[in-house]
């Protein structure tokens, strides 16, 4: 009886069994990683805008308060993207001839809105409310990152559910004094956890992980 297979097939076939196992496990792990990567979440990717608005310049440089433009952040679900009028308050005087600002002036002239590209885009079935967070000591930079160092805006956090849950489960890790909410320079103190717990008590923060908190 002649050999059907060559010697080498022994090693190959043995390898193939374990190889298959590694392949499966490996690919699953890879998928999990990709789903959390910036490629999917868009986190850390600066987005092109019709007007290259720089938070770095306006916030970091000139120290504008967040609420000057995002006026409804304390009262409404949405922080509010400023109307062209707000831009023109200053830019009718400053840089009033700058070509980069032409789209703004054009919008103001024609009454046609500027179409900004949305940077932070939650799914439609997740109901986030800015006022609820801002009024309970969750700072802007906690979720939006160091905007004062962002020439073009990018998404800071993954905005995935596990990320939301992290804070909803242990808010003391992130809350800050209300007066610091809009500060871009605030850094968590070394004893953040103690201070955090105190603030959670003071502000009556509930660790709400019920589904209907966000999904309705």
């Amino acid at each position: 009886m002649p050999q059907t297979f060559h010697r080498s097939t022994n090693t190959l076939s043995k390898l193939s069994i374990f190889g298959a196992l590694f392949l499966v496990v490996g690919s699953l792990f890879a998928i999990a990683e990709i789903n959390r990567s910036g490629y999917v979440t868009q986190a850390g990717i600066a987005r092109e805008q019709p007007v290259p608005f720089s938070h770095q310049h306006h916030v970091g440089g000139m120290g504008l308060d967040c609420r000057y433009c995002h006026a409804t952040v304390e009262t409404s679900a949405t922080a509010g993207v400023p109307p062209t009028k707000t831009c023109m308050n200053c830019h009718s005087q400053i840089w009033s001839q700058s070509p980069t600002l032409e789209p703004v002036r054009a919008s103001f002239r024609t009454g046609v809105s500027i179409e900004w590209t949305r940077v932070h885009d939650l799914p439609d079935f997740a109901y986030f409310n800015h006022s609820a967070h801002v009024n309970k000591g969750v700072g802007c930079t906690t979720c939006h990152g160091p905007v004062d160092r962002m020439p073009l805006m990018w998404q800071y956090a993954s905005l995935q559910m596990e990320w939301c849950l992290d804070c909803h489960r242990r808010p003391e890790k992130y809350v800050r004094p209300k007066e610091e909410v809009f500060s871009v320079s605030w850094q968590p103190p070394p004893d953040q956890l103690e201070q955090g717990r105190a603030l959670v008590r003071a502000y009556g923060i509930q660790t709400r992980t019920s589904c209907s908190t966000c999904h309705r």
Binding site: T75, Y127, N129
Partner: protein, 1009 residues
């Protein structure tokens, strides 16, 4: 025997019914006679009721087909695109509007119209999109509630089938062209005093419109203004004060659901039934030919043929020592006597009222009786008419038709009315219109009349235009637009009328504002914004606006009762059936036929959707060998129409009731082809009832989609203690008896730790004694929660999506129609603490919140339907196909932005309006406080005219809901299953008259739980 190809007719074996009822112990509830009779045909019928094939393949409604295809593509998109979201744009304002805060809705006060009368509403607006209508608490005709039609108004605004362009003979024209045409027409009429000009409107209470009409008729004295209100004018109705009335006799008046004052009346009437043990209850007698919500919840109800009602009224009057001849011939003399006695005993605190569809004679008798009892000024007020010029609609229309036939009409301007469809057949109105040289129509739709007119002007929806209107009690409301007209060629009646004046091109805003500037005089600038804000014009009474009542005004205020006109209700010519016309309870005279919300809303008593039917008493049907789904030919005064039969317990013997508003041909994609056109056999001399009807079987059958006929029911309901109803005496004797009807497992009898809920524990209490089954809550829920319309075929399959349904159980003996009662039970999600649905969900898509809500997470649901199978209340609804409309742009504008729009393949259900809870919570916490009791109102609660539904925090013993649940008549549905529902019911308590023990005995079964 008529057996259709697919649907067999069902024979009712009344013998069987009798036997079963004799055998039945205790109260028997049943929903369908076939079930009661247990005929084999019924079982057969159950099988083949809806021939099962892949009906989606040949779905008659093209839109649905298209949508489901859309759905599939979305689904596939879901398959591939499960990682990245597509880029979205943010489009901010250029100039920020005042007030508007993105993400926070605003409420504006205006009014909806019912037969021309105002019912105050508050419209919720998200960044300029009206999305939801609430009642205006400050308005006398609303008190914070709205009716079903009111809820659907916002859908009417966004109806994609609305007429969108101004057209002359079907070709698009500009507004200026229209004005030119009017100018030239007027040029002809002016010298001749407008002798050839006719204006046809519906009932008008708008002071501004009245003034405009007065101006025009002033300029053109020979021109004529005709009015036609197909659903029946309410001009003859007095103002009632049910809160003052201990004993009420309704002569065919469906006051809790029908009419400009129904919301207020329902509130006042049920207010006297909310604490049966503690406070004296009122007592209601109803005499009517066809079961209405009012009749079905009455303490005593006597079904009479239309021709007998006047006799009955006379009998009562006679018993009260009235001079009128004693009507011994009346079939219900004894009944009348007992009622009269009861009325007499409560003289000054009793109330007799006649329905809209009763002839003047009955109204007059009611007025006489009230005067005799000294009720006038106490429980009822006969004030000056509110309508600008009350007329006898049919007569007015007949006069116009005659003029047209005679060629006396050269210019006909029709404002908002649709006579080509609604006019009684004997007027041959459409044919007569041909004789008119210039026909102008203003309407929301390019309807049957528009098709016959030269000019069609798309009407601006009342939510798009400035106007005003008055409520049943005369209170005026300024109607302000919520949104600029969706279609720019749309105009309001004010603007079209202006075209007939010297100043043709005025904006509605100016017309209305100028009128009120005159009316409000000096401090206009203070009162105008106030009136807009409040929704009522404070301290204003009509002065000059209305033109004096004319001869055609029949049952005007205080006018002496005119003798019964034979023509109005001809005496029953023996043998034939009597025919009763009624506007449909939801789509009215057909004006709302294209609103899917209303088409799909189960009718209060029949639970029919998408169709009207010939309603016949079971015995009458049996005598004629008729059964459900038999198509009969109704022969009446030489005209015929084909109608499917629906046997209805409680219907007066030998009568047939047909509802108007169906059989539309140009209503739109939704309304076309639904039901049959009853006005095809309607005559102008007897618009509401007549005798000499023949019903001949055709052998055809037609399936009617009833949400509770195909959900058939039998006497089981009684043994399961679903509805609990006692008399006030029984309740006073042993209040505990209601709870003890079933055995409830004690809370500590469990292996599990009892969960505690903090800071709040939401709960609901529904008072069955207050619910009148009007279904307003269902539409409110649909509007609030973006619930899709599924269409007749899907309803027939048992796939309606209503989160909240109102179950209707009959009690009584179908043999004795006077014993028949309906019991209404609104059924939202019970929010069980031990929810059976949650445990079985494999992906934890339905779980409990920390405040005891039974959350349903649409985006987690994969649609195994296990939860629905395991729900003992069957309140869960599943998107079997793509029911939601993802394609029509205008419909998207209506959606509530705070509620996820569900797509195909997910389960959904009542959430206690969690979006409202969260909104209130965030508002409260932002203000640094806790949520106040009553701050969260569910959609069903806020719309309910009778406040049957109360929602709140059961952790707080002082909250309204806690106090309700503390009542002895509080009970939980299926509590024996230990599901611990958060929604509980207050049992029904009735207040029968011992005098009428005879019929009470017939109802006897009612008196043991």
């Amino acid at each position: 025997m008529s057996a259709g190809p697919d649907v067999p007719a069902v024979r009712v074996d009344l013998g069987g019914v009798r036997r079963r009822l004799d055998g039945a112990q205790g109260r028997t509830y049943w929903r369908s006679l076939e079930e009661l009779a247990r005929t084999p045909e019924f079982l057969e019928f159950l099988h083949r009721e809806f021939p099962a094939q892949a009906s989606e393949l040949d779905d008659p409604r093209g839109r649905r087909e298209f949508l489901t295809v859309m759905g599939a593509s979305l689904a596939l998109a879901g398959l591939v695109g499960c990682t990245k979201q597509p880029d979205e744009k943010i489009v901010p304002y250029v100039q920020p509007p005042e007030q508007a805060v993105p993400g926070r809705p605003l409420f504006y006060a205006t009014a909806m119209l019912d037969r021309g009368y105002a019912k105050g509403i508050l419209v919720e607006s998200h960044l300029g999109r009206p999305t939801k209508i609430e009642g205006n608490p400050d308005h006398p005709a609303s008190l914070g509630a709205t009716d079903a039609a009111g809820q659907a108004w916002v859908l009417g605004l966004y109806d994609p089938d609305r007429s969108q362009t101004l057209a002359y003979r079907g070709e698009i024209r500009a507004w200026s062209d229209f004005l030119a045409a009017m100018r030239s027409a007027l040029a002809v009429q002016k010298p001749r005093q407008g002798v050839g000009l006719r204006i046809l409107t519906e009932t008008i209470t708008s002071p501004t419109l009245a003034a405009q009409l007065a101006e025009i008729l002033g300029d053109l004295p020979s021109a004529k203004w005709h009015q036609w209100e197909p659903a029946g004018g309410a001009s003859a109705a007095p103002q009632c004060r049910f809160d003052q009335a201990d004993v009420i006799l309704s002569l065919d008046a469906d006051f809790v659901m029908d009419g400009p004052a129904s919301l207020r009346y329902a509130r006042e009437y049920t207010a006297r039934r909310k604490r049966p043990a503690e406070e004296p209850m009122n007592r209601l007698y109803v005499v009517e030919p066809t079961p209405s919500a009012t009749g079905m919840i009455a303490d005593h109800r006597l079904p009479l043929r239309p021709s007998e009602i006047e006799g009955f009224a006379r009998a009562v009057a006679a018993a009260l020592g009235e001079s009128a001849p004693p009507a011994g011939s009346s079939p219900a003399a004894a009944w009348a006597a007992a009622v009269a006695k009861d009325l007499q005993a409560h003289a000054g605190r009793s109330l007799v009222l006649a329905g809209h569809y009763q002839p003047p004679a009955v109204h007059a008798l009611a007025q006489e009786i009230n005067q005799r009892l000294g009720n006038v000024g106490q429980t009822v007020v006969y004030g000056p008419p509110v309508a600008a010029r009350p007329v006898d609609g049919p007569a007015s229309l007949a006069e116009l038709a005659a003029d047209m036939k005679a060629g006396r009409v050269e210019v006909l301007v029709i404002l908002g009315s649709n006579p080509a469809y609604t006019a009684p057949a004997d007027l041959a109105f459409a044919a007569a219109m041909d004789k008119v040289k210039l026909r102008v129509h203003l309407g929301l739709y390019e309807d049957e009349t528009a098709a016959l007119c030269h000019w069609h002007v798309p009407q601006a929806h009342p939510l798009e235009a400035w106007s005003d209107a008055r409520a049943f009690d005369g209170t005026a409301t300024i109607m302000q637009p919520l949104i600029a007209p969706l279609y720019e060629s749309a105009r309001s009646a004010h603007e079209v009328l202006a075209a007939l004046t010297s100043r043709p091109d005025r904006k509605g805003h100016d017309i209305v504002k100028d009128f009120w500037r005159k009316e409000l005089g000096a401090d206009f600038d203070r009162r105008w914004p106030r009136a807009l804000h409040d929704g009522v014009v404070a301290g204003w009474t009509v002065a000059t606006a209305t033109t004096p009542a004319t001869a055609t005004d029949t049952a005007g205020p205080g006018t002496a009762p005119s003798p019964p006109v034979a023509a109005v209700t001809p005496p029953a010519t023996g043998g034939g059936l009597e025919l009763v016309f009624r506007p449909d309870p939801y789509i009215g005279d057909g004006r709302y036929a294209n609103l899917g919300w209303l088409q799909e809303l189960p009718r209060p008593v029949t639970k029919l959707t998408w169709d009207n039917a010939a309603l016949i008493a079971p015995a009458t049907a049996a005598r004629r060998g008729l059964a459900n789904n038999d198509v009969v030919e109704l022969r009446y005064r030489g005209r015929t129409v084909k109608a499917p039969v629906w046997t209805l317990p409680g219907q007066a013997e030998e009568t047939v009731t047909v509802h108007l508003g169906y059989g539309r041909t140009r209503a739109g994609r939704v309304g076309n082809g639904a039901g049959f056109d009853a006005s095809a056999i309607r005559t102008s001399d007897a618009p509401w009832a007549g005798s000499g009807l023949e019903a001949a079987r055709t052998g055809e059958t037609q399936v009617l989609a009833s949400t509770q006929e195909h959900w058939s029911i039998d006497a089981e309901a009684g043994t399961r203690h679903i509805i609990r109803s006692v008399t006030v005496d029984e309740y006073a004797k042993e209040p505990e008896a209601i709870k003890e009807q079933t055995e409830i497992p004690p809370r500590d009898m469990t292996l599990y730790p009892n969960n505690t809920f903090a800071p709040h524990a939401w709960g609901m209490s529904i008072d069955l004694n207050s619910c009148v089954g009007c279904n307003a809550c269902v539409v409110a829920c649909v509007a609030e929660n973006n619930i899709p319309v599924v269409g007749r075929e899907q309803v027939a399959k048992g796939r309606e999506m209503h989160w909240l349904r109102v179950d209707r159980y009959f009690s009584g003996n179908p043999e004795q129609a006077e014993t028949i009662r309906a019991h209404f039970q609104p059924l939202p999600c019970m929010q069980c603490e031990n929810a059976p649905c949650e445990q079985v969900c494999p992906v934890a898509a339905t779980v409990h919140s920390d405040e005891g809500l039974n959350d349903q997470v649409y985006n987690r649901c994969i649609g195994t339907r296990y939860c629905s199978n395991n729900c003992p209340y069957k309140v869960r609804r599943f998107n079997f196909l793509l029911f939601q409309d993802w394609s029509t742009p205008t419909l998207k504008l209506q959606r509530n932005p705070d509620v996820s729009v569900r797509s195909r393949g997910v389960m959904e259900k009542c959430t206690y309006c969690v979006q409202r809870i969260e909104h209130a919570r965030i508002t409260a916490h932002n203000e640094g406080r806790e949520i106040r009791d009553g701050e969260v109102q569910t959609a069903c609660q806020s719309v309910c005219p009778t406040q049957a539904i109360v929602f709140g925090d059961i952790n707080d013993p002082g909250s309204r809901v806690s106090r309700r649940k503390a009542q002895h008549r509080d009970y939980a549905l299926l509590a024996e299953l230990n599901t611990r529902p958060r929604t509980t019911y207050l049992a029904e308590v009735r207040n029968p008259n011992p005098e009428l023990s005879a019929s009470a005995a017939a109802e006897g079964s009612e008196h043991h739980g």
